[in-house]
Symmetry: C2
Amino acid sequence: MKTSPFISALTTGENPTTPVWFMRQAGRSLPEYRATKGTTNILDAISEPELAAKITLQPVERYGVDAAVLYSDIIVPVNSIGFGVEIEAGIGPVTQNPYTSVKDLNRLEGFDPVKSTPYVLETIEILKSKLEVPLIGFAGAPFTVASYLIEGRPTRTFEATKAMMHGDSETFAKLMERLAEITWLSLEGQINAGADAVQIFDSWVGNLSAYEYDTFVAPHTRYVVEKVKKLSVPVIHFGTNTTHLLREFAKIPTDGVSLDHRSSFAEAVEILGTDRTIQGNLDPILCLTTEGVMLNEAKRVLVESSSASKYIFNLGHGVLPSTSPQMLEKLVEFVHKNGAELRQ
Amino acid sequence: MKTSPFISALTTGENPTTPVWFMRQAGRSLPEYRATKGTTNILDAISEPELAAKITLQPVERYGVDAAVLYSDIIVPVNSIGFGVEIEAGIGPVTQNPYTSVKDLNRLEGFDPVKSTPYVLETIEILKSKLEVPLIGFAGAPFTVASYLIEGRPTRTFEATKAMMHGDSETFAKLMERLAEITWLSLEGQINAGADAVQIFDSWVGNLSAYEYDTFVAPHTRYVVEKVKKLSVPVIHFGTNTTHLLREFAKIPTDGVSLDHRSSFAEAVEILGTDRTIQGNLDPILCLTTEGVMLNEAKRVLVESSSASKYIFNLGHGVLPSTSPQMLEKLVEFVHKNGAELRQ
């Protein structure tokens, strides 16, 4: 573990090989996942430590990636304390009673990782006894979780979220404060149980303008990051479609930022600095094309990544469910074999 | 017409009032549109000059916007020559026989605006006899049209498009060349019939990386823009989610660029220059909130737009179907009343 390329990429930057892992590497694209999980609801699968650990290990065993990422979901903490949000198959997080006023905060009280999500900590303990690569802890960022709680379901337009953000910013801020605290406590629990690094998933934040992000979101994400930093564990900040927010991301003291396929490395490094690790950014759709196309574009990503002195190969977003595992096997092999040379 | 604030904003930049219009100002959000169009298919409505002219005029009469935009659809030219693409209600452009090889170019031959779409030219002639504000001609950009023809239906991931772009770039380029020629001919026809300016709609281009845009798309959009420029009619380039592409957009000699709500004016002006008109960029979702929220954010947009010396107020993307016309009435009134002062 002490020579983990993944951890080195987040600290010293000295790597004989280029580390690689994939967001959603554990999950629907793997036949062994579908066989293991069967028809179990995702939240139920997460709450069974042996099962969740097995699912987390599957891609590590198959692909030889340089990190495991805890099999989880961004609504796990808020679900555990009874907000009343579930994962509906084929849709995503859904609640019949969205957050509409500060009264709804009473459904977001008392989160304690040991009492509320003991299964998460048990899963991590099992994993730590088996893993030979680092384990990445997992949490949704306050904004992305808030958007589900306010909208009641996945959205592309964030109508209710933006109405509250601009029209009743105090009610919005109270939710964000509460979610920031829950996110931090969840990550603290995961780190105490053995997570070697954490990634904060802010999947939908790219819809916000820089003004909206700076005013209504950044202080809460910053709170989480600053708390985690005190535990001396590296923090990666993930969003998609965030080129226009990188100047705001730069102000948050993360160790790494994960870019989607739209952002250019040169511009990102200029904004984020050379001391911060860049992660990404192959377009996941290319893993559905041909091996030739995928590897050619992976090569381009690796060459362009040279502008970042600290670097972790990844896709720009999660593995798409219809991705062939054989393609990802080839991709890991290619990055391990050619990464260091292409990045020279 | 000679003192049109819309045309001034695209030329001299000298405006006593701030011009405003909305993308999709004609259409589903207007009760008079729904009453006029009834259950007529959109392509049929476009092909009836009296009807299409009436629909184009409706928002001008109701809102007092500073420009009319031709009621049309980006697939009108390719549909007119028999590619075999239709608008499916609630879905969008759909074809049973997508473009898969250069053989399919035989379904994209012989476009001539006078012979293929005489109704478009008739619509413009009717409009020119009635309008007191400029008429904006309408065309889909080659990439966005290509994505529909290759995918066969609207997509969020562009799987087939990217597979062809990277894996068979010649077949992709042949389609883009053909579509660029069709786009130019369509715009030439509209300009000859009386269009006072044109907007090129590249709605989905924001999914591309700067490398993809520069290599596979920019030459074809540039071809269209350079041709139109020879007719001395202003050209506006529209895309959404394009902050990461603005450096590429800057290389194309357009008169104006339309920004969505994500882009900041300061950054856009720095990249696009002060001589180019900026259009946008209120988030259309805010028109579904309250009047107070909407106008407060419109105020912010106007203040921030001061960094652009030439400016047209618009939404960042099209009017959402559930938008109340009363909200847009208030918005036009607000911009006309306060724009000049807020932009000082």
